[in-house]
């Protein structure tokens, strides 16, 4: 899917926006980047740090790095109605280098899209040194000039990060300072511009945080307690006639506490009025609350998470939000499953109004107990549900009370049991309800039951097989699915597999794949051939719609 052609984008927040509006909004923002004082400060800081580091450059340092390539050769596939792109090959490549000498470090990341893999943002094109930095870190002081990643609190108001699987990189180019006072008080500040694909967003972002280790400050024993205040400002010039404030402020306060088996954390966030495409051009402020309560003892763990969001989408510009265009991070707080049929329709956070939560319980039946057996048994129960917030944008929203529209529900149980020394099994069941409204379609619910399991059979110390089977039953959307996989591993270097995912009741298409991998030390090469279905792929809580394809996929990753 090409967001620049279709004008549509499914971001992390289930939003569908029209690109024409984005173009209009961006065009009104003066491009002041070349004359930006931040850039001059950044350049000066970079030079200072490099000069300081260069004094020691001939001494013994440490150069490290990594290389990653993911390339696909696409094929036409008449049976599945898949047409290969004109350019049959696509390749995403990343080369990263870091140099360290004592307290100094510097590095670059080079990216080449030759061209970008089908489905990822087509604005990732050509190649370039998209990430470069120099930094100094002492025990209580740090400074970075150049590009950096950062997160404040839980990311409700700011997170700059990288997720290569979906072509996301929102690193900030600018400067960052950090100071720790006796480990009790931590100060952090930064300013710069967010990356937007191969370019920079047409806005400046500034932020900072003050966090205090309360438990240490008042000498509490067997307890940890921290509190932090975070702030972010996005400035994007505006010269039009509408009452648009070029500044948007976001604040959050978070606290965490743990004593013995109990833990608690909470974060409240507020965002000032933000007249943007992703708020449907409503001059509306936003807020969010995240609460998490846990109880953990040996053999038992549970955590309850609650979150409400009201107009908390926060783009790097006033245009559309979505992959690579967000300043903050609002992931779907649901369990991420390992079975492919349980992730056919993952939840997509509705950042403008959503309320719900997740309960996770994990228990280990001890070895030697009647139910645990000789090797013990691991039980996991997880439930999550999300609704719209009651109310509307005119009359206001309830604080936590849900409305009548269910966005998502997932109730699942997983059992892990070693039957004998060489045989380990997993059994899984999930009851899921997915509302296609979260990806911009009609309101409704796709209900499904997923049953799955796998068996690992270790033949010898280094040889093992894994057999996996799955079934999804549904009367909605694409109806029923079945899947199976056989994998062989020769430890520690070699694996190969063959799998099939079959839809019956709708398309009756087999999505088969076979492949293998070879690993040597810090290098891994994998080759796969087969057919992949269309749908959402999610990485790190952000989802992207991927078209179906048939082809040969080579991936190689290596670090040194």
């Amino acid at each position: 899917m090409d967001p620049n052609i279709t004008g549509k984008k499914y971001g992390c927040c289930g939003q569908v926006a029209v690109l024409v509006s984005e173009t209009r909004t961006r065009a009104t923002a003066p491009n002041t980047y070349r004359n930006n004082p931040l850039k001059r400060i950044f350049t000066c800081l970079t030079i200072c740090i490099i000069l300081a580091a260069a004094k020691s450059i001939y001494a013994q340092g440490n150069l490290s790095g990594s290389f990653e390539t993911n390339s696909i050769y696409y094929l036409n596939d008449n049976r599945a109605g898949i047409v290969a792109p004109d350019d049959k090959t696509a390749s995403n490549n990343y080369f990263k280098l870091d140099y360290r000498y004592q307290k100094f470090s510097a590095g670059v990341q080079y990216e080449a899209y030759l061209p970008v893999l089908q489905g990822l943002p087509s604005t990732l094109r050509n190649s370039g040194l998209v990430f470069k930095y120099a930094s100094f870190r002492d025990s209580n002081f740090s400074v970075t000039a150049g590009d950096f990643y950062e997160q404040l609190g839980n990311g409700l108001i700011f997170r700059a990060y990288e997720e290569r699987a979906i072509g996301l990189n929102t690193s900030v180019e600018g400067a960052r300072l950090g100071y720790s006072f006796r480990g009790l008080v931590q100060l952090k500040g930064f300013a710069g511009r967010s990356r937007e694909f191969m370019d920079r967003a047409a806005s400046n972002v500034k932020g900072g945080s003050l966090s205090v280790d309360i438990a240490s400050a008042i000498k509490l024993e067997h307890t940890t307690a921290n509190a932090a205040l975070n702030i972010v400002n996005r400035y994007m010039g505006y010269t039009g006639q509408e009452p648009i404030d070029p500044n948007v402020q976001a604040y959050s306060f978070n606290i965490d506490w743990a004593a013995n088996a109990f833990s608690f954390q909470g974060e409240y966030a507020y965002k000032s009025k933000d007249n943007s495409v992703y708020t449907n051009n409503r001059n509306k402020d936003g807020s969010a609350l995240l609460l998490e309560i846990g109880y953990n003892t040996p053999g038992f763990g549970t955590v309850l998470t609650l979150r409400r969001l009201e107009y908390m989408q926060f783009g790097s510009t006033r245009g559309i939000t979505g992959i690579g265009r967000d300043l903050n991070y609002l992931p779907a707080l649901t369990k991420q499953h390992g079975y492919s049929l349980a992730v056919l329709n993952p939840h997509n956070t509705m950042g403008n109004e959503e309320t719900g939560g997740q309960l996770d319980i994990q228990y280990r039946l001890k070895e030697g107990s009647p139910l645990g057996g000789k090797y013990g048994t691991q039980l996991s129960v997880n439930a999550s549900t999300y609704y719209n917030l009651r109310g509307d944008v005119v009359d206001g929203y309830a604080f936590f009370t849900p409305g009548n529209t269910k966005y998502y529900q997932d109730i699942n149980i997983e059992i892990e049991k070693r039957l004998s020394a060489p045989v380990l099994i997993h059994l899984f069941y999930a009851n899921q309800q997915f509302n296609p409204m979260v990806i911009g379609k009609e309101n409704g619910l796709y209900k499904s039951h997923v049953i799955a399991g796998d068996l690992r059979w270790q033949l010898k110390q280094e040889r093992s097989f894994r057999f996996e089977w799955q079934h999804l039953r549904s009367r909605d959307y694409q109806k029923n699915w079945a899947a199976g996989l056989v994998e062989f591993a020769a430890s520690p270097a070699f694996t190969c597999f063959i799998e099939d995912m079959y839809n019956y009741g709708d398309s009756n298409i087999h999505y088969y794949r076979l492949g293998g991998s070879y690993t040597f030390s810090r290098t891994r090469m994998a080759l796969q051939y087969g057919r992949s279905r269309e749908g959402l792929i999610c990485a790190g809580g952000v989802c992207l719609y991927m078209p179906a394809y048939t082809g040969l996929n080579l991936s190689l990753t290596s670090s040194f």
């Binding site: 450059i57 340092g61 150069l63 940890t224 996770d360 280990r364 093992s464 670090s559």
Partner: protein, 160 residues
């Protein structure tokens, strides 16, 4: 200009630099919320096995369960410690503590919430494991886990 300067710096560095052989500086968090420096993992003066994992990575959990099952036996053979570094972000980091507690992992579990430590060690794929000598020197690394590969870890630890 800054691009050229950085490239120049890196070109010069190549001459005198060695590959990543030492534990880098980075901040990590304990499950209780305390901030620690990666260098403090070496403070016990014994070799350290660092395993990058996440709650959504099945092979990672299999590897850590295998270490748990062998823990008592291995500790009688060689003195070392294991640090399981979770790279779960805000979506799933809340489940890390329940994972570690319920599975009764007898080793240290730390959080790398925005993957700073993972990037510093240039980890692209998990699970990835490092064995680090008491003086901070990286002596072994491996990507992925298949049943049985934990025996190589014991073999390396014994050779130190």
């Amino acid at each position: 200009m800054k691009k050229n300067l950085l490239l120049g710096l890196l070109s010069l560095a190549v001459a005198g630099a060695s590959a990543q052989t030492r534990l880098p500086e980075a901040q990590l968090h304990t499950l209780q919320g305390q901030t620690i420096n990666a260098q403090s993992l070496l403070s016990d003066g014994v070799p350290v096995v660092i395993s990058f994992w996440s709650t959504i990575c099945k092979p990672c959990i299999e590897e850590l369960n295998a270490f748990r099952d062998q823990w008592t036996k291995w500790q009688k053979e060689v003195n070392f410690k294991i640090v399981a570094v979770s790279v779960d972000d805000a979506r799933s980091v809340g489940r890390v503590r329940t994972f570690a507690s319920s599975r009764e992992w007898p080793f240290t579990v730390l959080l790398d919430k925005n993957q700073d430590f993972k990037r510093a060690l240039n980890v692209n794929t998990i699970p990835q494991l490092y064995i680090i000598e008491a003086d901070g020197k990286i002596v072994y690394s491996h990507i992925g886990y298949t049943p049985g590969s934990e025996t190589k870890v014991l073999e390396v630890l014994k050779s130190l």
